[in-house]
Each structure stands twice: as C-alpha cells, then as structure tokens.
C-alpha cells in the first residue's frame, strides 16, 4: 500500500527476559515475552493492540520505546533504526515518540507539581541543547497544554495526589504532548478508569488526533474500546501477533480461532443480545511464556487445531487484502 506513509516499522522484534531457575544455577531460562513480531504503523492512524494479560503488549511498547533493549529485531521510526541509534539520536527521536502509561497513580512523580511534570520533557530537551525555550515560554506552553487536555491552569501547582484518576491521566497525556510528537504509544491509558471517565479520555485522544494529526499505537484489553478507537487492529497471543486487519473487517470477519473466541466471549451490555449469544468457551488456561513451542502457540486451546499446528509455527501472512493472519486454516506451511 504505497499511499500509506509508514511512520513506525517493527521487524522481527523479540524481547526475551532471562530468569534464574535456582540460586546457584548458571543455566539460564527465558521468558519469551515477545517472540518475533512484525507490524507497521501508518502516519495518522491508530493501530490497536489487543490480547490477554501477559501476552506481551506492554513489553512490545517498551521495546519500541527502547525502555528495554530488544533481544532481536529492528524498530524504524521515520526510517531511523532505534535499536542501533546512539544516545543523542535516541533522545532526539523521543521528541517524535512519547508514551502514556496505564496506571495514572504510579506513572507520575508524587513530589513534582502537575506543571513541572508536564514541562519535564521540554526541560530535558533544553538541558541537552536540543531546544531553546525561556522560562516564560515553558510556562505558556504548560498552560496551553493543560487547557488542551481539559485541566484548569490554576491546578498547575498541585501535586498528583490532589487529582482524580481521570485528571492524572490528563496530566500524563499533556506531558506526552509537550514536545509535539508524531507518535504516542498508549499502554492501556483508560483501563484503570471508571466507565464514566473512560469515555471522556477516549474522546480526548480522538480530539487531539484530529487537531494535531497524531499517530497512536493504542494498547487495551477491552475489545469495545479498541474497536472504537482503532483504524486497524493487531491481535496478540503469547508473544506473537496472530492477526492484523482493518478494525471494521476484523470485527466482522475474524479469521484466527483465537480472535473468534475473544470476540465471542466479550460481554455486550444488552441483556437481549446476551441471552441469545453463542460463546466459544476455550478450555484450558493461558499458557506460560517460559518456553518456546515448535508449533502454533495457540495449539493447546484451539478448538480447530490440526496435526501440522503442533509441529510448525504458522507465519503471519496476508490472506485477503489488508488482512494478515497466522494460522494454517488459511495458508499452507512453507
């Protein structure tokens, strides 16, 4: 699709965390949190990333942001490979890529005022000679950002504990916007919020995207939230992406058996629909990521598994225009 400009290109990304098995043992084991994912984020779109708890969503985002040093793979932001960039290049790239975190309580420094938290990225840039800004300019910018995210500028000197969860999330968003980034990696930014506050923050993300042409990688485990906010959706399972498609297409025409089960199990707030729904109930538990499997990672729980699935890992392949799936029901092994 040449008409889509690619902003972020993730290739073969792996993040394996070493774990020690015994106190004295040298033999290393690994948590294969992310085990080879490929995807692209196009300029101006929202790519939603869904999947069960522990499937590697946060790790993917953190490895992209270089908060972790990836075990393997490349992460191109505007054609610069961040995994090979030096310190100064990385810092400069941060201007274009910011993160918003899940927990609005833990992600803000409790000893800094809201104003200082929002100004921090600008001050860091200034200190490193990447930007010039006078004290007054910074002050103006902070007030302007607070207004953009729906916080009164009179709250500038308050501390995080004096704000509600929704307001703290607004502070986190204002901080992410401070340097005018192109891309924001949003790691479950609404999951900790009450239903009534969640919709306020989702609207804010949409409004800011319209106003500034922002691009989002948006992580959530709530499928309705992902459906609402995303242009395209990537579904993750046990360290791998199993399906990517346009949001509308994925929800109408899920291909991967895991996506199918996920969609069928998500509760719908309408008693009449709930009474008539057919759920695909998966058996078994979510498997642990401490070993690599030769075949499909979903094999144990898959209601449609075949012999081949146990032996060979299916690749993520385009089976319909714009729709990629990694499942042998749709393509033969190489």
């Amino acid at each position: 699709m040449p008409d889509h400009e690619i902003l972020l290109d993730v290739r073969g990304l792996k993040m394996h965390f070493p774990i020690r098995t015994g106190f004295f043992s040298k033999a290393k084991n690994f948590i294969y949190a992310v085990d080879g994912v490929d995807f692209q984020v196009r300029k101006g779109e929202t790519l939603g990333l869904v999947g069960e708890s522990g499937c590697g969503k946060s790790t993917t985002a953190r490895a992209i942001a270089q908060l972790y040093k990836p075990t393997a793979g490349e992460v191109y932001l505007n054609n610069l490979d961040l995994t090979k960039a030096n310190g100064q290049e990385l810092l400069a790239a941060r201007k274009n890529m910011q993160m918003v975190f899940q927990d609005p309580y833990a992600s803000l420094n409790p000893r800094m005022t809201a104003g200082d938290i929002i100004a921090e990225p600008i001050r860091i840039f200034k200190k490193n000679g990447l930007m010039e800004a006078s004290k007054d300019e910074i002050d103006d910018r902070v007030e302007q950002l607070m207004e953009k995210v729906g916080l009164s500028r009179f709250f500038k000197n308050r501390y995080p504990h004096e704000f509600s969860g929704g307001q703290r999330q607004r502070i986190g968003i204002a901080r992410a916007l401070a340097l005018n980034p192109e891309l924001i990696l949003c790691d479950e930014p609404v999951s900790a919020l009450d239903v009534s506050i969640q919709s306020q923050i989702l609207n804010l993300f949409r409004d800011l995207q319209d106003e500034f042409g922002l691009t989002y990688l948006f992580i959530a485990h709530d499928l309705s939230v992902i459906k609402y906010i995303s242009t395209r959706v990537a579904v993750m399972y046990l360290g791998l992406i199993v399906e990517i498609a346009d949001a509308g297409d994925l929800y109408k025409n899920p291909l991967h058996p895991y996506t199918e089960a996920l969609l069928s199990a998500a509760p719908i707030p309408d008693p009449k629909i709930e009474a008539k729904r057919h759920r695909i109930i998966l058996t078994g538990d979510v498997p642990s990521p401490d070993k690599q499997r030769p075949g499909c990672n979903f094999y144990d729980r898959c209601p449609k598994h075949m012999d081949i699935c146990k032996k060979v890992r299916p690749a993520l392949k385009e089976t319909e225009p714009g729709h990629q799936v990694s499942c042998f029901l749709y393509h033969k092994p190489e």
């Binding site: 708890s53 306020q200 485990h221 969609l263």
Partner: protein, 330 residues
Amino acid sequence: MSDEVILQVKDLKTYFTVDEGVVKAVDGVSFELHRGETLGIVGESGSGKSVTNLSIINLIPMPPGKIAGGQVLFHGKDMLTMSPNEIREIRGNKISMIFQDPMTSLNPFLRISTQMVETIVLHQGLSKEESKTKAIEMLKLAGIPAPEKRIDQYPHQFSGGMRQRVMIAMGLSCNPEILIADEPTSALDVTIQAQILELMQELTRRLGTAVILITHSLGVVAGMCNTICVMYAGRIVERGRTEEIFESPRHPYTMGLIRSVPRLDQETRGRLYSIPGQPPNVIDLPDCCPFYPRCDKVMDICKKKYPPTVPFEKEQSAACWLYAKEAQNA
C-alpha cells in the same frame, strides 16, 4: 428465582471516620434478595459497593468503620445484632464470599485441600474423608482438571484463573444460600472470564444459590443478572429488572453510564457520549442529589434536597427529582 425473600437489607448506613471528616460510604441502602436470584451491583469506584457487602457479613474494620444504622435480615433475623458465634455460623457456610483478589483469601502456606477440608468439616459436620471427596467434587465442578492430584498443591502453583476457580469451588462447597462475588472476574482475561461466569451460572442453576454480583462491567451484568442496583455516592440511585434498566433507564447517571460505553456490536462514529465532571468526594456530602454537578437535567431543587425514590412499572425505581411530583410544587 422464587418469591421467597432470603435477605433483606434495610436502610443500611456504614460510616468511616477519617482525618478529613466522615465518609458516608453507605448511606441508607435497602434491597431484597430472593432465593435463586442473581442481583448485580454496579457503580462508580468508591460508590460503596464493597462496603455494602462487607457490612452484610460483618467484616467492616471498626474503627475506623461503624455501622451507623439499619438492619440486615437473613431469614428475618438481624445479622447486625448477632453474636460473633452466630455470625461465624453463617459466614462461609450459608453466606459465602468471593473476594476480588483470590490471594487475599487463600492462605499461601496451606495446601488447597487443607483449606477446603477445614471449612467443610467446620460447617457441614462431615468427616475428613467425606469432606475431601466433597472438595474434589467441587473443584471438578469448577473446571479444575485432575482435581484429585491438584487438591494437594499450594495456591501459588495455580494460575490466576485457576485460583479464581478454586475460590468459587470453596465459596460453593458448603451449598451456601447466598454467594457474594466482588468483581470475581475483573482481574481475568475475556476468554477465562467467560469460562468462570458460565461456571457460576451453571452452579447456581443447579444448586439454587442466590448471588450478589459486584462488577463495573455493564456487559457482565447484562448477561448474568436478573436484577440490578445502581449505586452512586453511597446510595442506590436506581434499581429494576435487568431488561428494564437497559431498555428504559430512568436515573440520569444510569442513562449516562449505558450511553458512554463503546459497543462491540455497533458502529460508534464520532465522539462518545460522556458524563461530564468527576465522581463525587464522599466526605461530608451535603444533603442534595450527589449527581447534580454532573447532571444534564439538573433543576434547582436537586441542589437543595436529596431526591425521593420514585417507583415505576414492575420493580423499577429511581431516586431523582425529575420524577418526583414535589419537584413542581417546590
């Protein structure tokens, strides 16, 4: 669900004294639970859902907490005035509770078998062997594979979803008349959540248990509950049969809540509906409608007096001045 009322909560008030003042966490809550009924409690974080249920089974830490008034009638007998012995007889036996975090109620140092057998011996007067057989049977019902082997393991040897199932098995092992489940699935994944909810439904159908289900998910109540209570700032602001609440919500908070969730089964274009403002601070609430600062239908009277509860058709009712006749006269 039958007509027999097994639990009646009447004008329950539970307050906490903190440095900043008095938190009226539960301030005049009343509801009835019938045999076999599944009642959902939904509402904003801090609206008093957990405190309501902890008050019922007498687990409020005092101080700082205090039951400031009301009655909790279990088969007509007030649990709030029972002796500790009488309460212990009921709790974990006739009324059992599943807490949000299974690790808080499972002892990490004891085998699952020890914990389950102890409860069953204590409450049902069965022998140890009989109790173990019963425990294994419950674990099997709860979908734990090879329960006769796994029963002798420790809690940390189970995954989160399995621990939750152990809790459900324990909760139901004494054939309780009432099961109180506080966000039993919110820590779980959608696919595991579906497994657990299906299991709870199946077990309650078979054993005739009544359930109080606390959740923030409107989807879960829609699929599970016969009736719903909506709480806001320590009170029930609306109640009714599940279909009524979703089809014709009356209280502006309920209406807003239902409209503000994006839907999996519908296209939502443009902005989502959202309730403006922040949840109330429940410390020293004035005696007005606690929702008025966020309400798009607010009138003068709403800022002055707490609205009366107005009944509608069937079992639905809402505490809102929009429906109170006096509003016009005031």
